[in-house]
């Protein structure tokens, strides 16, 4: 009797939780859609930058968080996406939407080709190989002048004119669209059979193969998905920044930044990388504004402190807090059932 009441109470609680999540998602969507109306040009740019880094961190999460392959060289796909868009728009005269999608596909195709040999490596060897790849692609972009204009770079047309708010607005919505698509894909990965396969590869690749998972194909698909969204973000970034050159498009600092964000947020979760991007980007801007001359040092110290205080990442911290809260709340009823 008591048990039945308890379980129906719990089911009710679960239903409440689900509907609360749905309400929260709708509210978040409305806020994100209306946000450009409330923000100044300065904050709109920062928000767009948060969306971009959230996309990069989330895309990195698919291959690194779920599959366990530290692809620090994902900047290669960011740059390939940016260059593909620039070339398609300026040299082939393609429309913007088609060029963005094709740029993402170009990054994905590039990943599919180089993925097979590189994915044979594991751990740090994989990480350093992806770094070497990204540095090599940068050199190639600098030296293949007939295609990329070499070190001179490519200038792109602007999408909008007017006040700073109006100029940034289209890029904000494009970036938001890319981020939502990337998060939806990551959510699918987190609940699908394919995603469980990826997690088992992370836990033990040999065991996963023994259980009939095609590890090579799974890893490749995970990395190609990651490259696709990274390439899309690179394409929108190129449009936004309106000028790209090899140094800026294949900038390893971007890789360091998005991996810091994903790690601080929490790898292998859907919300973590987005929260991490928000935290780090806002922190960077605040520190930049407050300590111009020593902002690097203060940011460095802040990063060190965050790592020392929560080595498991934000999501781990939240989960621990939530578990503690639940335990505290659950204690009285647990006592009751004992009687």
């Amino acid at each position: 009797m008591l048990e039945a009441r308890l379980s129906s109470f719990l089911r009710e609680g679960q239903r409440l939780q689900v509907s609360a999540a749905a309400v929260g998602a709708v509210a978040l969507a409305v806020v994100l859609l209306l946000l450009p109306n409330w923000l100044s040009g300065y904050w709109l740019r920062i928000t767009t930058s948060v969306l971009m880094f959230a996309t990069l961190a989330q895309a990195w999460n698919i291959i690194t968080g779920f599959t366990g392959y530290p692809a620090f060289g994902n900047t290669a796909f960011f740059g390939v996406g940016a260059y593909a868009l620039a070339i398609l728009v300026t040299k082939a005269g393609l429309g913007i939407p088609a060029a963005i999608v094709l740029a993402g596909l170009a990054a994905a195709a590039f990943c599919a080709v180089i993925g097979l040999p590189i994915l044979r490596l594991q751990g740090h060897y994989f990480a350093i190989a992806t770094l070497a790849l990204s540095l090599f692609v940068r050199e190639a972009a600098a030296n293949l002048g007939w295609l990329t204009n070499g070190a001179i770079g490519i200038v792109l047309p602007t999408l909008a004119s007017g006040s700073p708010e109006e100029i940034t607005r289209p890029y904000y919505y494009l970036m938001l669209l890319v981020l939502v698509a990337c998060c939806a894909c990551t959510w699918w990965v987190s609940v699908s059979r394919f995603g469980y396969g990826l997690r088992s590869i992370k836990a033990d690749e040999d065991a996963a193969a023994c259980f009939g998972i095609n590890t090579t194909l799974s890893k490749l698909v995970a990395w190609v998905l990651s490259a696709f969204f990274t390439g899309l973000a690179g394409a929108v970034w190129a449009l936004w920044i309106t000028f790209i050159d090899p140094q800026s498009a294949f900038n390893l600092a971007i890789a360091v930044k998005f991996s810091v964000m994903a790690l601080l947020g929490g790898l292998g979760t859907v919300a973590g990388p987005v929260l991490g991007a928000l935290l780090v980007e806002v922190l960077t801007q605040a520190i930049w504004g407050a300590f111009y001359a020593v902002h690097l040092a203060v940011l460095g110290l802040a990063i060190m402190l965050i790592v020392l205080l929560m080595p498991g990442g934000l999501m781990q911290l939240l989960r621990d807090r939530l578990a503690t809260a639940k335990r505290l709340l659950a204690t009285p009823s647990a006592k009751e059932s004992w009687r």
Binding site: G68, P70, P117, I118, R120, L121, Q122, G123, H124, Y125, I128, A129, L131, A132, L133, L135, F136, E139, A140, A142, N143, V256, S259, V260, L263, L264, L267, A293, V294, H295, L296, A297, L299, G300, L301, A302, I303, M304, V307, L308, P311, G312
Partner: protein, 292 residues
Amino acid sequence: MESFQFVVNGLMLGGIYAIVGAGFALVYGVMNVLNVAHGSFIMIGAYLTYWTVTLLGVDPFVTLPASAVALFAFGYLVQRTVISRVLHASIFMTFILTFGLDMFLINAGLVAWGGSYRAVRPSYADDVLIMGGLTIPYVRLVVLVAVVAVIALLLLFMSKTRLGIAIKATALEREAAQLAGVDVKQIDAITFGLSAALAGVAGGLLAVVLPFGPFMGVPLTGKAFTVAVLGGLGSMTGALYGGFVLAFAEIGGVIALGGEWADGIAFIILLVVLVLRPRGLLGKEFFAEVKV
């Protein structure tokens, strides 16, 4: 004649890379920590040499032992106060932590010394040795001798002293070393100090050969990473070989394809070595274990 220049430059650059990579590999081997701030230790070493030479007027090569001692103390303290706290966290976390440390050190360098490039020029900077049609700057010869001396000392220390053997034992099998009576926490800090000292010496040598600034360490961390991987991550002797391989590959790339492709060639070689010999040129399997 050109090939002789090639060999001298390759040996000199390779020796410096070897010293940089060996320190990086030691820390990875003992603590499973990828020290992104390694390049900034090199930067500090370069400035220490610069300031000792400028303020005291001594020969730059005399400053090397002093900056080695100073950086050993600094590395020891950094390990004890910061790095030791995250040894049990995932490797990515130590990666980020040392990245934060790197940012801090670069900014400290900018504030302390400004962003302009500097160079250490001893009184004999322009003197050259002319030998059968070959011209070799004396400075480069002294750097080469210093590099060989440092590598020899390091190898002797690692194979002949109890401390060196304890470091190797800790890298190979931490628990077993502990059972045999090695104070592994102390070894951690000493290894980090030794790695910083090697970086400091490399910085002093680089300061004599090339102009330098607060950001000099960033590409050097990349080289240290490459060298350590070429030699097999975690293997110190492997890194010594890796340093020479990378240097000759870079200089060979410049000669064969021109300066603009040099870095591209180095990265392609790295990729090919990685794909064909993932354990590095000399790495053994257990060195490559990754504890994520």
